[in-house]
Structures are given as structure tokens and as C-alpha cells.
């Protein structure tokens, strides 16, 4: 067991007995990674903060559900975040989705990093399983092996999903860039 896992296990033990400081330390240790993951998945800081908060609320209400023998606390919390994101996504499906091109502000279209803005929308529009591999492998810099462990699938699946997702994203980005060049030729 790594030092981080040992520390987490110790903190979790204290947290289960009602130690407020232990919970604070656990939160501070894991909130950044969870928030970043949720931010990449949703493309919206408000939604990301909501999901991250919900993960810790869930942990407060289910302190005994984590089994250290099955993996690290970080991975476990990511799993909880994934389920919450999936549920949220399902709820959002009930609403009409606007055309993502209309969400890009006109003044941002000629900005240097407007590709990133377009990409954020394109990633958010990807199917869930494609979006996950893009987030883990390309935005979080995880290896195929690590991503496969986090998602719970084979390494080859991660690789093929990533290639397909990147193909979709590259085409969408190209289309957007072409549109922008028409509007802003300089």
C-alpha cells in the first residue's frame, strides 16, 4: 500500500469515528482532482462544483462503503463522481439541447484559444464513454492502463474509443475553424 493510500486509510478511519478534521483533510486531498474531472466532463464550473460537493455529501452519508482492499479512495470517489455525472446527464437529457455553435460568443471566435472553447463544447457533446476516455487520456494525461482501471474496461477498448473520439473531435474542430475563417479572415 502506498503512503497516500495509508494516509487515506488512516484519515478515513478517523473520519468514520466522527473526526471533523480528518474529513477536512480528506476533502482537501481529493477535491481538486474530482473537481477537475467533473469540470472536464461537464465543461461547466458550476455543474462541476455541484458534482464534487455531491460526491462528498455521499461520502458523509456512506462512510462505510469504501473498501480499501479494492482500490484507492481517489479512484473510489472518481467512481462515485462518474455515477453522479451519469445520473445528472440522464436528467439533463429530458431538456432540449441547444445547437452548440450558438453557445459560442461571437467575440470569442477570433480569440487565440477559441479552439479550446469550441473543443469544450464538442467534448461535452460526445457520448459518455468517448468523453470519459478523452478526459482521462488527453486532458488528465493518464496512460491507457490507468484510464482502463478507472473506467473499468479493457485497455484496447480505451485505445479504440479514444481514437474514435479524437476523430470526431478533430472533424468538429476543423468545421468550426473553417466557419471562423469565413467570419474573421485575418
Amino acid at each position: 500500500m502506498s503512503d497516500l493510500s495509508t494516509r487515506d486509510a488512516d484519515l478515513l478511519q478517523r473520519f468514520r469515528t466522527g473526526d471533523r478534521d480528518a474529513f477536512t483533510l480528506l476533502y482537501r486531498a481529493h477535491q481538486t482532482a474530482l473537481f477537475r474531472f467533473a469540470m472536464h466532463m461537464t465543461g461547466d464550473p458550476v455543474k462541476a462544483a455541484d458534482v464534487t460537493q455531491d460526491v462528498f455529501v455521499w461520502l458523509i452519508h456512506h462512510p462505510g462503503d469504501f473498501n480499501p482492499a479494492r482500490g484507492s479512495l481517489g479512484a473510489f470517489l472518481v467512481g462515485v463522481a462518474r455515477k453522479l455525472l451519469l445520473r445528472r446527464h440522464g436528467e439533463e437529457q429530458r431538456w432540449t439541447v441547444l445547437d452548440e455553435s450558438s453557445l459560442v460568443a461571437p467575440e470569442a471566435e477570433c480569440e487565440e484559444d477559441s479552439d479550446a472553447v469550441v473543443l469544450r463544447g464538442a467534448i461535452a457533446a460526445l457520448p459518455e464513454n468517448y468523453r470519459e476516455v478523452v478526459v482521462w487520456c488527453d486532458l488528465e494525461g493518464k496512460s491507457y492502463e490507468e484510464a482502463a482501471a478507472l473506467i473499468g474496461c479493457a485497455m484496447g477498448t480505451v485505445r479504440s474509443r479514444l481514437h474514435r473520439a479524437r476523430g470526431l473531435l478533430a472533424r468538429k474542430l476543423e468545421k468550426q475553424v473553417g466557419r471562423r475563417r469565413e467570419k474573421c479572415p485575418v
Binding site: 477535491q31 481538486t32 467534448i123 488527453d138 474542430l173
Partner: protein, 222 residues
């Protein structure tokens, strides 16, 4: 460019754009292929641009952070959740106590009444006149069988002459007893045509000091 070749190089192309380590031979083969295949060269350009956009997006997203007030909100939730078991315990104990009290009350209420003449404690209003001070519940069944009902069921208590009136704070008791009619006559009770040698059943109002203060005739015994 054959389709087979492009499929073969597609994977390498994406890996190269992502900056994954690649053997020098593989890299040379890929470059050589792209010199002849415009489609793969275009795809390589798209993938490189995508990787750059990914980097920019990761940088942009890193600027966002969790709102600091969330930590306080979570701590408040943590404290609230921790309090619940204690509250549950207290409520459990209180609930148990209430249930026990209710059970005792029910048990006492369901016990059979004692087979003796009822003795009722009453607080008596100050003026002790020939007005009803208290009424006694119905006599037990076995007594009713032997007692003749009086002509007027709610006869008033009649104060015994030459006794001190009850004080407002003084407790009094009504005691049902069988008395010789002669005793009623001696106490100044109007017996009318009753046989002086007979007996009568009466409610006697007894003061806190044990002395009788008033009498109410219930019935004449055979």
C-alpha cells in the same frame, strides 16, 4: 494510398499527435507514408491541432477551482449527520419511557374495581349549608340489592348542628355507612316516619379532623 496502409498508420498518427513515445523506425515509416498520402497528412494536421486545443483547454479548466464555501457547507453537513444517531438514541429513550407510562396507566385503568363501598375524596366549598356538597358514585351491586332506593335519589347533605363549618382549604371525605336511625335522630337529621329501631344507609361528610359534618340519607335498610 491504399486503405490498408491508411488503417495501419491511423493508430500511429494519433499516437504521434498525442506525443506518445514511438520507435524511430515507426516514425520514419509514418513520415514516409504521409509524404505520399494527402489524407493522412491532413488527418495528422487535424490531430496535432486537436492536441494543441486539448492542452489549451486543460490549462483553461485548471483556472477554475471549487468555491471555498463548499468546505464549510460540507463540514456543517458532516456535523449534522453525526448528531443524528445521538438524537435517535435520546428520542428512543423518551419514546420508551412514554410507552412504559402509557402501559402502566392502561394496566391500572383495566384493573377490576375493589368490592368495597367507594370512598371519594372531595374538596368542599366553604359554606357548609344544607346544599349538596358532593355526590357519591353509584353503590356497588350487592349493596343496591339490599338497599331500598330513597324517594329522592339526589337528597342534599344536611349539616349536623353544633359543628364547626369546614374551612375553604380543609379536605373532607364522604363515607357511606350504615347507621341506626336513632343516631340520625340524635344528630338532628329529620327522619320523619322512619322506625327509630331500624337502620339506614347514609353518606357522612367527615372533616379533616375525623368528625362528621353533614349527612345525606341514601336509603332505609330492611
Amino acid at each position: 494510398m491504399s486503405g490498408v496502409n491508411c488503417q495501419e498508420f491511423e493508430r500511429r498518427l494519433v499516437e504521434a499527435a498525442r506525443g506518445c513515445p514511438m520507435a524511430a523506425e515507426e516514425r520514419l515509416e509514418l513520415d514516409a507514408h504521409m509524404e505520399h498520402c494527402q489524407a493522412c497528412a491532413d488527418e495528422s494536421e487535424r490531430q496535432t491541432r486537436l492536441s494543441a486545443a486539448m492542452g489549451a483547454l486543460a490549462m483553461r479548466n485548471a483556472k477554475f477551482q471549487m468555491p471555498p464555501q463548499v468546505e464549510q457547507a460540507l463540514l456543517a453537513e458532516f456535523v449534522a449527520v453525526r448528531r443524528v444517531p445521538r438524537r435517535r438514541f435520546v428520542y428512543g429513550v423518551l419514546g420508551g419511557a412514554v410507552a412504559a407510562i402509557l402501559a402502566v396507566v392502561w394496566w391500572m385503568g383495566s384493573r377490576p374495581a375493589p368490592q368495597v363501598a367507594p370512598v371519594v375524596a372531595v374538596s368542599v366549598p366553604p359554606p357548609l349549608q344544607a346544599t349538596p356538597l358532593a355526590t357519591v358514585g353509584a353503590a356497588p351491586k350487592h349493596l343496591r340489592q339490599i338497599a331500598r332506593p330513597a324517594k329522592k335519589p339526589d337528597r342534599p347533605f344536611i349539616a349536623i348542628p353544633y359543628t364547626l363549618p369546614l374551612e375553604p382549604w380543609e379536605r373532607a371525605e364522604v363515607m357511606r355507612m350504615d347507621l341506626p336511625v336513632a343516631a340520625l335522630i340524635a344528630a338532628g337529621y329529620p327522619t320523619g316516619m322512619m322506625d327509630p329501631t331500624g337502620s339506614a344507609r347514609a353518606d357522612v361528610l367527615v372533616g379533616q379532623d375525623g368528625s362528621p359534618r353533614a349527612i345525606r340519607l341514601v336509603g332505609i335498610l330492611n
